[in-house]
């Protein structure tokens, strides 16, 4: 049996982390290919149900990343997002989600090296958690694909 390769759904803000991922690619920085990136206009656009939906459909990990506080393209989107993350992070860990499955970071579009470093860290932590069993649906609804 081959080694477990985690599937990770990554929600990146269009203005910062998505740019960092782009820059990392253009700069030929190696990072693991375990992400399925969803581009958001801003981390403030992230609804907590997206995270749960990803886990429900079989993602082994979720990574959310946006602009550093103070650098939001929309002035305060990430400040608002941070408050939601504080509650959501607390709640999901309190109900038994492994701490290594859900990751948050601030990566600016110039920080390709930080992107590479955190991408590796996220994949390793999710890999250590093993496949997501507890937060996935036993049987998916008709027409809904699993995270590819």
């Amino acid at each position: 049996m081959s080694e477990f390769e985690p599937k990770i759904v990554a929600f990146f803000c269009n203005w910062c982390t998505y740019g960092a991922a782009d820059l990392a690619g253009v700069s030929r920085l190696d990072y693991p290919p375990n992400f399925r990136v969803v581009r958001l206009p801003c981390t403030g656009r992230l609804n907590p149900k997206y995270i749960l939906e990803a886990f429900k459909r079989g993602a082994d990990g979720v990574w959310i990343s946006g602009c550093h506080p103070g650098d939001c393209h929309y002035i305060a989107g990430n400040y608002h997002a941070r408050r939601k993350f504080m509650l959501l992070h607390h709640m999901l860990e309190a109900v038994g989600l492994e701490p290594g499955r859900l990751h948050f970071s601030w990566i600016s579009s110039a920080e390709a090296n930080k992107f590479q470093e955190i991408a590796r860290e996220v994949v390793e932590k999710v890999r250590a958690c093993g496949p997501n069993v507890n937060f996935r649906k036993a049987e998916l609804d008709l027409g809904l694909p699993e995270v590819a």
């Binding site: 941070r82 408050r83 504080m86 709640m91 309190a94 109900v95 038994g96």
Partner: protein
């Protein structure tokens, strides 16, 4: 302490006065239910309606739930938690302050019918109540219970029994607020293993039918389309899948974070006796710890998720 008949009298005359003076087109309150130990909401437009108004230890519904449905001038006969929810709806701009008149009634805590039935398994045909005791009777028997022994869980940690400060008028003698919830059980749970935590929370909702009675009873759940009813995309499957049910409870609680007044309406409405508030309490604890916020206590509060501080501490973000 004002006796219950006196209190009812005062509530009824206040309601009649408000209708006569035109301060309200409808007065929302409680009336006796059709079976023992139940109450029903009543929407008073005439004097006759007003004569049915009561205050009851069994008034488990949060009357603020009905407020956003009335566009005109409305008065509400409010316990501490009803008043806080009504204030929350004004703060969240669901109703206009000038259309709302709060008749605050000092509350001494409500009782939990399930706990009464557990202590008194014989069929209960009638229940009489006063401030401190519940008298039960059935075929050829009668007994009485001290109210303190069968208080609802949320009433044991109520910090707003008397809606002082926000009520337009107050009926009854103010009752002391109780020591706030210390979340000791949740703190103890936080120290346990992931498996134990998950087993606890999934166990809580394993009987859930997803009837959404908790949502319908909740004064915070006024969204025109709830996320559970959205179909494109469909966030929650319609089957009894464990994860769909769990997601519902997590998101329901999340939507109430920083807004829940611990009225216990969700638990009271639940036909399966699920301790729904455990999920809310998880978030209440965090909201109070991080932002020291209690909803519904003043008209000019800013709900914590609609604002931010540049120095909010979130050390889990890399």
């Amino acid at each position: 302490m004002t006796s219950l008949p006196d209190l009812n009298q005062k509530i009824q005359s206040a309601a009649k006065r408000l209708l006569a003076e035109g301060k309200a087109e409808v007065v929302i309150g409680c009336r006796q239910g059709t079976t023992p130990m139940t109450v029903a909401p009543i929407f008073c437009r005439t004097e006759d309606d007003c004569n049915q108004l009561i205050w009851s230890n069994f008034a488990k519904i949060n009357l603020a739930t009905y407020l956003p449905k009335y566009p005109g001038k409305v008065a509400i006969i409010a316990k501490g938690c009803d008043a806080r929810s009504a204030v929350g709806q004004v703060v969240e701009k669901q109703i206009e302050r000038e259309n709302l008149y709060i008749v605050g009634v000092a509350c001494g805590g409500l009782v939990d019918v399930e706990q009464i039935q557990a202590r008194e398994p014989r069929p209960i045909r009638a229940a009489e109540e006063d401030w401190a005791t519940i008298k039960l009777s059935g075929d050829g028997w009668s007994s009485s219970l001290p109210k303190e022994d069968v208080l609802r869980r949320n009433c044991k940690t109520c910090v707003s029994r008397t809606p002082e400060g926000v009520a337009d008028e107050l009926i009854g003698e103010p009752t002391e607020a109780l020591p706030a919830d210390d979340y000791a059980d949740l703190k103890a749970l936080a120290g346990q293993s992931l498996e134990e935590k998950m087993a606890y929370f999934k166990g809580l909702v394993k009987n859930c039918l997803r009837c959404y009675a908790c949502r319908n009873a909740c004064p915070l759940c006024y969204c025109p389309v709830c996320f559970v009813d959205e179909t494109r995309p469909q966030w929650l499957g319609k089957s009894q899948d464990e994860m769909d049910t769990f997601t519902f409870h997590l998101l329901r609680a999340f939507h109430c974070s920083g807004r829940c007044t611990s009225c216990g309406g969700c638990e009271a409405a639940c036909p399966m006796d699920i301790k729904l508030r455990e999920f809310n309490r998880l978030l209440d604890e965090e909201v109070q710890k991080d932002w020291n916020y209690l909803p519904g206590l003043s008209w000019d509060q800013t709900p914590p998720l609609t604002t931010y501080r540049p120095d909010d501490e979130a050390d889990f973000i890399k």
